[in-house]
Symmetry: C2
Subunit: 305 residues, 2 copies
Amino acid sequence: MIQKLIRKIEESRAPIVAGLDPMLSYIPEQMKKRAYEEYGETLEGAAEAVWQFNKGIIDAIYDLVPAVKPQIAMYEQFGIPGLTVFKRTVDYCKEKDLVVIGDVKRGDIGSTSAAYAAAHIGKVQVGQNICRGFDEDFITVNPYFGIDGIQPFVDACREEKRGIFVLVKTSNPSSGEFQDRMVDGKPLYEQVARKVAEWGDACMGDSYSYVGCVIGATYPQMGETLRKLMPKQYILVPGYGAQGGKAKDLAPYFNKDGLGAIVNSSRGIIAAYKQPAYAKFGEESYADASRQAVIDMREDILSAI
Amino acid sequence: MIQKLIRKIEESRAPIVAGLDPMLSYIPEQMKKRAYEEYGETLEGAAEAVWQFNKGIIDAIYDLVPAVKPQIAMYEQFGIPGLTVFKRTVDYCKEKDLVVIGDVKRGDIGSTSAAYAAAHIGKVQVGQNICRGFDEDFITVNPYFGIDGIQPFVDACREEKRGIFVLVKTSNPSSGEFQDRMVDGKPLYEQVARKVAEWGDACMGDSYSYVGCVIGATYPQMGETLRKLMPKQYILVPGYGAQGGKAKDLAPYFNKDGLGAIVNSSRGIIAAYKQPAYAKFGEESYADASRQAVIDMREDILSAI
């Protein structure tokens, strides 16, 4: 799947991923009204509104971007109806030949991580049948448990030719509270990075590993150091745009081959119509605003790298 | 909800939580056969088998234990049908007046943690209505993002009078890979513990905080140190039994009031009939074996503390 991701990035000339992280406040009023009329002001109604909103955006941008990253929390908050729409979104994006990165940040002790891996990038055996729960191409995972919490995900990567992005340095303001603490003269995120590089060696594609990492766009100096520590890791870069990351800071995340990183924008794309720059599209044409935001983001990033 | 947990522990004289972490391999063959006949060898069939298995155990032990801890990964692996059974299990346990600890180990940047908090211990507003997705009493959370990833959970605890258990030292063999690394002369898990104590001060019940922690039974010496660093935290203790934790090691996890810790057993209870000690019950009476295992575990732990 890392090969497909790279191929699609090269074809689209867009090292960007659209974060499908819908909030009810992003969804046009008329769209919510129609969903609530049909399903009530219920979890089902909210989930239907999210689905219609997502579908509009996917239809508007699928030819421009290589990948999407639905954040499962935004669906999980609407319970089972919400997660049903998460699954529907994953399936629809795959129909559109998009690479799907499930932003799930799971991680636990070995036997439990094995169940999460089965849920998202692997399979379960039920009687004589092989079944798949959510069936994403990549997921994000949390390294706090150490290798035996990660190994089941790495095993699934190898068996299924799918991938993971391990959290190394997250984009949020307080990520340094633990991640930056000095351990043997180096920050913890560097210690995690060294392990990620080691884990990734065990499942290589042609030039990049199936095991990638997450480094926030909001910490470009750390990005530069970490790029060198993990030359074969694809870096998933959140935090561009709404969280404050700038395109000019992104060059160090890429390798000399022009590959090696994919930059996420969520609000900046899916709620573009709420920004002054795209207000002219209006609520009704929110998906056209998203398309224009993708085009502008691509240009912004390509100019910087 | 911490008050209810403490009251139920005192009433039951059982500081134990039954981990509802079903694997298909634990479920009696006849029960799986019936589920597959009705729903096929599908995710739906697997989920039905899990539900029937859980219901049997809950009916057999609900009068003995104060709390249950369903591990969501074991349900998530069966996709939407699995998560539907997770929700059904949560609801059924609450009907039986059990305290429900959702073992979800979620954690992310602030806005995303807010969605997870809403999903599990909070609420969402849909139009004029307040809706709840999964509606557990407590959940487990991952601290790797630092305070802005934790704050939304703490806020939900305060608003909803529900609780969280923050991972401090996990029970798995490689937990030390990052958690034990020395930071300013102290292991990272101690640094996390100090923060948990600080976060917990902001939402106290009568004598314990709504913010608790997770410390594995497999690291009793660390448990002793951490107990002192977090006197007001309830400690959720996984790793007893199948993972190797012994009752004699558990005394340091408790405070002098005899409270302050709740010990989890999953396989040891729900798959008791597969152990030589309970084999006499047989597959058909697997739930009776679970009941006996709970009685024995209570005795084992009370004798040690």
